[in-house]
């Protein structure tokens, strides 16, 4: 026991130097700024730094990188909230309630909630990583295409309740999203689909140009079509009431169940290679709405609607390290970059690392926790800067958003085609808004349906290799447990409805 303690102490002390603290501060600050700029991502910055990583001391380079990823997730939510421009796709669910809050003058409240939620989600998943990494990784490995399918169906069920009236408009919007999502290579046969022979379309419509165009540019067009005198006013007003510019303790406590639930969702999804932070954010948002006593407030500026996606997407980034540290399997591109940075520094990860050389793992853990605190403190600074930066007159802001949208989508992969897509989706989003089609079903169709297709078709392909055919899924314990959870959730919904109906009758 004493030995373990001294091992932990030795490992932690590797990362507890002023150099690594400085590196974390630089990393988090850079990440927050990069995250706020659409099209620039922390992964891109890290990729640019890899040829130089050789020259860094390990416990400067690695903490900086971890800080960068954490910072960028919060940074991307500031622009999502203030100007409806998600800096990364993971923040697109934050737009749904964050932007309405900002329009009501409660932008600072939303940003601070996003900050607390991000740090909460990060800390939650880091603690899970530290104490349950091998257990969670074992469970996550049991999740195959059949389980992914049922998870996505679960998400669609809870998000389906987001559909607005009239129902047919929601349906049309979903279908439009599905069709846009179908463009590209067929997930099973790898043959081009709906590309009209254009190689630019072969890898599908990029998430970033689509989201920036559909959410941000369309909103610019809508505001431009307003009265000319509106355009000279302040772009974003902040309420004079201090209560609208901060998150009170009561509000935080009210959001606590949402934060815990969303962080848990993010951690589980992050531990599985294959779904990712955008999906986790939407699932957490749907679940927060389902569990809420006032679901009608969602989409109009509910604080839980910011807390849920923000804690979930940050929880994913910590949990992505779970399969990496336990099996050496990187869950996403960020984890893959962390893996290569670790290996450049001679730090190996994987099942043998725990028993053979756990020192660096403890140092990583210490760096992760430190980065969370730094993220919290620097986040207040970024919130302040963002609030000043976007206080310019509306006509200036609208023009800058168009420039940022074009530049950001070009920067991503040096493609003029993507810039064209941004404006095409801007017009499309504007037309949809004018005719009263809801945006959320389209996003769900675009983001979740391709995943559902890929996993469902994989299940069907796998079924052909089993004697019991499609029934093979019932031999999978993970599938059965998920099914049971789904059943209980449905029962709870019915029970609650019935109780509410009975209560209503008793009142009458």
């Amino acid at each position: 026991m004493g030995d373990t303690f001294s091992l932990v102490a030795d490992g932690v002390s590797l990362a507890l130097t002023w150099q690594s603290l400085l590196a974390i501060i630089v990393g988090v600050a850079a990440g927050q700024i990069l995250g706020a700029i659409p099209g620039l991502t922390a992964s891109m910055a890290v990729a640019l730094l890899i040829p130089y990583s050789f020259y860094f001391d390990p416990w400067v380079g690695i903490p900086m990188l971890l800080g960068m990823f954490k910072g960028s997730l919060f940074g991307s939510s500031t622009t999502a909230i203030l100007i409806r421009t998600p800096g990364t796709p993971a923040a697109s669910a934050t737009v749904l309630d964050g932007y309405p809050l900002a329009q009501q003058g409660k932008g600072m409240k939303a940003i601070k909630m996003a900050l607390y939620a991000s740090v909460f989600g990060d800390t939650f998943s880091d603690i899970c990583l530290i104490f349950f990494a091998s257990l969670l990784a074992m469970v996550a490995l049991k999740f195959g295409p059949a389980e992914y399918t049922i998870l996505i169906v679960l998400a669609l069920c809870s998000l389906g309740m987001l559909s607005s009236r009239p129902a047919w408009k929601g349906l049309v919007a979903t279908l439009a999203g599905v069709i846009i999502g179908m463009i590209g290579l067929d997930p099973m046969a790898a043959t081009p689909r709906l590309t009209f022979g254009n190689p630019e379309l072969e890898e599908g419509i990029g998430l970033i140009p689509m989201l920036i165009g559909f959410l941000a540019v369309s909103e610019v067009f809508r505001q431009m079509s307003g009265k000319a005198e509106d355009l000279s006013g302040r772009a974003i007003r902040y309420s004079d009431d201090p209560a609208d510019n901060r998150v009170s303790l009561t509000e935080f406590i009210q959001c606590l169940p949402t934060l815990i639930r969303s962080s848990a969702i993010g951690t589980v999804i992050g531990a599985m290679p294959g779904l990712g932070s955008t999906v986790a954010a939407f699932i957490a948002y749907g679940e927060a709405r389902r569990a809420s006593k006032t679901p009608e407030k969602f989409g109009k500026g509910a604080l839980e609607g910011v807390a849920a996606p923000e804690s979930a997407n940050n929880a994913v980034s910590g949990a992505n390290l779970i399969p990496l540290l336990a099996f050496g399997i990187p869950g996403d591109i960020a984890a893959a970059l962390i893996l290569s940075a670790l290996m450049v520094q001679g730090v190996t990860v994987g099942p043998l690392a725990f028993s053979q050389n756990p020192l660096p793992l403890y140092a990583i853990y210490a760096a992760l926790i430190m980065a969370n605190f730094v993220n919290l403190f620097l986040g207040f600074g970024l919130a302040k800067v963002a609030s000043v930066a976007f206080s310019v007159p509306r006509r200036l802001l609208l023009a800058s958003v168009l420039v940022i949208a074009a530049a950001g989508s070009y920067a991503l992969r040096g493609s003029v085609f993507d810039v064209q897509l941004v404006f095409l989706f801007g017009v499309f989003g504007y037309v949809m808004m004018r005719f009263g089609f809801p945006p959320v079903p389209l996003l769900i169709g675009f983001i979740l349906m391709p995943l559902l297709e890929e996993n469902l078709r994989t299940v069907l392909l796998l079924a052909s290799t089993y004697d019991e055919h499609l029934l093979f899924v019932f031999k999978r314990p993970a599938f059965l447990s998920l099914l049971a959870i789904m059943g209980v959730a449905l029962l709870l919904v019915f029970w609650r409805r019935r109780r509410r109906a009975l209560a209503a009758r008793a009142d009458a």
């Binding site: 099973m188 630019e200 072969e202 290679p273 290996m343 043998l352 992969r413």
Partner: protein
């Protein structure tokens, strides 16, 4: 008027000077290296490492430009259509050069439109099964597949890439029917293998997972011996049609001056021998493998022809 003629004269002078300089010493200005893969992937890392190290040796800046899309064909066609002066080159890997053009229309002809500057990485493609799997050898695996048509589930990191074609060619030669289950990337295929969704995978990640004791190597899908399992036969050693090289290399448009390829033949080995490159290669799990302009051109031409035949035999489209 005088100003204009002076300007023109200056421009003319500059033009003659720069072409003179080209003959005297390539390179004398920044080089653009087009990477057809997005930032963050292995191809991007390789491009940036080569750009940095080769740029330091040659004393010029090498700027990496990511031009992605169309399964790397957009970036490669930008290289093929660039001015053949050696100042626009590109990063290339196996699939869009020797494999894909046989299955889909590519906007370039790999043999006629590109000059192959050199190869610097050869990645191993071990065929792996779980460590507790009943299949101890390639023969065990084939025997199972023969007795249970369609029941063997397997995958590779890229659908319709080199390893996919090589394994399909093996099954075709044995006349067995197995089920290819596509996953997006080697790490997802590895997770599916360890989780029991599939039974076999041919992925570069297999070397590390074997060292970690999670998997076992039955064979090697490229012509190079696998350092983790030196006894495992390559697919051609085992008597099957192809084992295509999985390479990282550099290419230029067809018709670049000989000085350009000569310069890179001199610089690339220095880059590869540098401790910086060795360390990053180890971290990325690349096998360092140098082939100069002549040798690399031969590799590409041989594999291109072999893949053409194999793909036609299998009937993959």
């Amino acid at each position: 008027m005088r100003g204009i003629s002076k300007l023109l004269g200056g421009a003319l002078l500059a033009a003659t000077m720069s072409s003179g300089a080209l003959a005297a010493g390539y390179p004398d200005k920044p080089i653009t290296l087009i990477c057809p893969y997005s930032a963050g992937g292995g191809g991007d890392t390789a491009s940036r490492v080569i750009a940095k190290l080769a740029g330091d040796i040659m004393g010029v800046n090498i700027n990496v430009e990511n031009k992605t899309g169309g399964g790397a064909t957009i970036g490669i066609s930008a290289v093929a259509n660039a001015e053949p002066d050696g100042y626009t080159i590109g990063f290339i890997s196996t699939s869009p050069i020797t494999i894909r053009p046989h299955m889909m229309e590519a906007p370039y002809n790999p043999v006629e439109d590109l000059t192959y500057i050199g190869q610097f990485v050869a990645s191993n493609q071990p065929m792996i099964v779980r460590a507790d799997s009943p299949y101890k050898s390639l023969a065990d695996l084939i025997a199972f597949a023969k007795e249970n048509p369609g029941k063997l589930r397997w995958s590779t990191s890229v659908q319709r890439g080199g390893p996919h074609v090589a394994v399909e060619a093996m099954f075709k030669a044995e006349n067995v029917d197995a089920t290819f289950v596509p996953f997006k990337g080697g790490s997802k295929a590895l997770a599916a293998l360890l989780g029991g969704t599939i039974e076999m995978a041919m992925i570069s990640e297999g070397n590390k997972s074997t060292l970690d004791g999670q998997t076992r190597i039955l064979a090697e899908g490229t012509p190079d011996e696998n350092p983790v399992a030196p006894d495992a036969p390559t697919l051609t050693e085992a008597g099957y049609p192809i084992a295509p090289a999985i390479f990282f290399g550099l290419a230029a448009p067809k018709g670049v001056p000989d000085e350009v390829t000569a310069k890179w033949d001199e610089v690339l080995p220095k880059v590869i021998a540098s401790p910086e490159f060795q360390k990053i290669a180890e971290a990325q799990q690349w096998t360092v493998h140098f082939a100069d302009h002549m040798a690399f051109t031969k590799t590409v031409e041989t594999d291109y022809a072999a893949a053409k035949k194999a793909i036609a035999d299998i009937g993959m489209k």
